[in-house]
């Protein structure tokens, strides 16, 4: 049986501000636009986590979806949901919480917990708004 992708979706709402403290006010404005407003703003983020693997011949499943859901909730949603990311969720006290960096952080929080005999994390897709999302495949690129 061939490799299959399984995607689980979850949501969290959080606030953030995108600023690089080493840049001037003007440079931050040019780089981040309204996202640089100092008191922050929020989004309803949608997270899609995709696991790849070969279905187990007996259970017919790539991954236990209940355990995947619990891992997402415990490792990401409970930590991120209804928080000000820059203030309350490391590493965003020192890393700019762009969707790219959030996707990388979510990958790091999940990857080792989704490593199983039949499956592994394939990619993290994070929607900041319905019109903007990033995909991280964990290859550092």
């Amino acid at each position: 049986m061939g490799v299959m992708l399984v995607t689980r979706r979850a949501e969290f709402s959080a606030s953030h501000v995108c600023r690089n403290p080493e840049l001037s006010e003007k440079e931050n404005r040019e780089l981040f636009g309204a996202a640089a407003n100092p008191h922050g703003h929020g989004h309803n983020y949608v997270l899609e986590v995709t696991v790849e693997g070969t279905p187990d011949p007996v259970s017919g499943m790539v991954a236990d979806l209940r355990s995947l859901k619990e891992t997402l909730n415990r490792r990401v949603i409970e930590i991120y949901d209804h928080r000000f990311l820059n203030r309350e969720v490391p590493p965003f006290d020192r890393t700019i919480p762009t969707p790219e960096n959030i996707a990388i952080d979510i990958w790091r929080r999940l990857a080792s917990h989704l490593e199983g005999p039949r499956a592994r994390l394939h990619n993290v897709r994070l929607y900041e708004t319905p019109d903007l999302y990033v995909d991280y495949f964990g290859d550092g690129a």
């Binding site: 780089l31 700019i96 919480p97 762009t98 903007l132 990033v134 991280y136």
Partner: protein, 143 residues
Amino acid sequence: MRLTRKYRFSASHRLHAPQFGEAENRALYGKCNNPFGHGHNYEIAVTVGGPVEERSGRVVDLALLDGLVRREVIEPFDHRNLNEEVEAFRALVPTSENLGREVVRRLKQNWRAVFPAGGPRLECVAIAETGRNAFEVSAYEIE
């Protein structure tokens, strides 16, 4: 890292290939062959790939991407008749497949003027003519 941004425009078109006769066009394109054309609210998803820049935490400067897409695609296509007002479709049927390829061509032709070598790459463009269909064109398939 890949980043996908969605944009919208509304335009009219008619699917009619002059190489075929009236009956063949009608059979091939159905209602899309109606003589005076019709319109859609198009949604295009532009996917960009590359490393995340340390300084900004971003893979692409969104203001630059938005400006490029607006200038090369949205402004020339929005509230236009594609067959009559977009040069590429005077001799080419404006199906979503051909529209996707034309969008990739326009973005690739102007990419280097906006993004430096080693910066973000155009990966693919997906066009949805309605909410029930989508056409994806890889940027590597188009010159």
